[in-house]
Assembly symmetry: C2
Homo-oligomer: 278 residues x 2
Amino acid sequence: MKIVIVGLGVIGGSFAMALQKTGAHEVFGIDSNDETLAKAYSLGLIKNTGNDPGSLGSADIVILCVYPKAVIDFLRVHRNDFKPGCVITDVAGIKRAIAEHAGRLLPDNVDFIPGHPIAGREKMGITYASDAVFKGANYLLTPLPGNREPNIALIETLALEIGFRRVSRISPEAHDEIIAHTSQLPHAMAVALINSNRDGRATGLCIGDSYRDLTRVAKINAVLWSELFMSNSECLLSAVEDFKAQLDLIADAVRAGDAPALEQLFRRAAARREQLDE
Amino acid sequence: MKIVIVGLGVIGGSFAMALQKTGAHEVFGIDSNDETLAKAYSLGLIKNTGNDPGSLGSADIVILCVYPKAVIDFLRVHRNDFKPGCVITDVAGIKRAIAEHAGRLLPDNVDFIPGHPIAGREKMGITYASDAVFKGANYLLTPLPGNREPNIALIETLALEIGFRRVSRISPEAHDEIIAHTSQLPHAMAVALINSNRDGRATGLCIGDSYRDLTRVAKINAVLWSELFMSNSECLLSAVEDFKAQLDLIADAVRAGDAPALEQLFRRAAARREQLDE
């Protein structure tokens, strides 16, 4: 297959690395930054040395590894540049907005299948690209009504081929609701925790693994995550409210000195967390 | 040195393992559970096969690896059983309550130096004991006014000997304030996050590393952490309020569609998190 990756950041670069390592595909790249493109070529991740306007038109598969709004912009600008039969997918962390817009933009002879690999790094840029982040991770597809089954299966196979453990199909609405809880809320929590620390404390002396783990994602890409939060504001605000209600139950039990109530909340959490590992 | 460890749970067992591996100490154990004691002996962690009432009276160092209230109870019951010159320390995750009580309980010829190794596991019991958790971790001491300098130095040396990276001295008040933010609040957040998930969601398909990391500590020891929370309620409730205020700033920016405000909160968090790694 001839695969073109649009956007060679940490995720696009990781896709290029993983696909190139399979030995089964020809991987090309497009990026607005010439240095990134040169780096991708010198790392052996892509076959082209510069942006090749023709490569898009000969691609069997196009993977859009750019920010959510840029996915829609790219599809709008290049709607007539794809080869008939081309299968396009993206990696954006929100799917409802993408699904709503993309369906209307493209001609019938290309198939856009929205996707979301649940894998990332706190670092930005091709320097940090690594196919290791895909190993054992989850991959979600939110197919559109017109998507052709063989094309969906093609992306599923590709995901498994590069190391993902499981590819699931889910509606864009369910995706955005769940991802608000499992990804966006945890990022908001990490940011709020770090920002709530008071200056002047000897915090560094008192941290263990739980604080490090919890705040790792506070090394956040501000522009990307701002876009993700804003594009999923309704689901995220609802997840925040649900979370605050549970945090209040804990605080109320502590304030009331009600140890049995607190222990019950803890036991519920421990049981629910165990289920996640199954 | 003859060292007696009181309480052979996951932490006491880990201490026994680490101290025994140094080859420089004779390690004995006391535990209310005979099976635990037999297991510790069969694992080669302690030299005694059963509870030896005499071992306490010949110990140079006693390490209390029991829950906070049990530390105070043990000191009260055994206040006259220690050898003159004995150095006693504990590992409880709260220090103000310990410091206030312990100082008044003990005779002048023994030295109790409250401590807190910032290392633990989500699992309970001696089966999960591992000296690996100490490697590179922080260790805090909150010395009492009457503590003798050579005895404090003795515990510091012991901590470094078994793999801790840094031993710091801090007041019990500062300890409890900071640990509320770095340890108790993160545990409350993990519990609240897991408990706020709605039933029926295909959550398992949508989790990545951040959710796993953040909720790891939700596999919580309900009895221990309830005691820790209740014994440090003032500091914890204050940390919760500070955190909620920051979370509200994020939610407010999302609700208002104010991307620049959100990005500013993100950049602040990323910078503060980077500092922690320095």
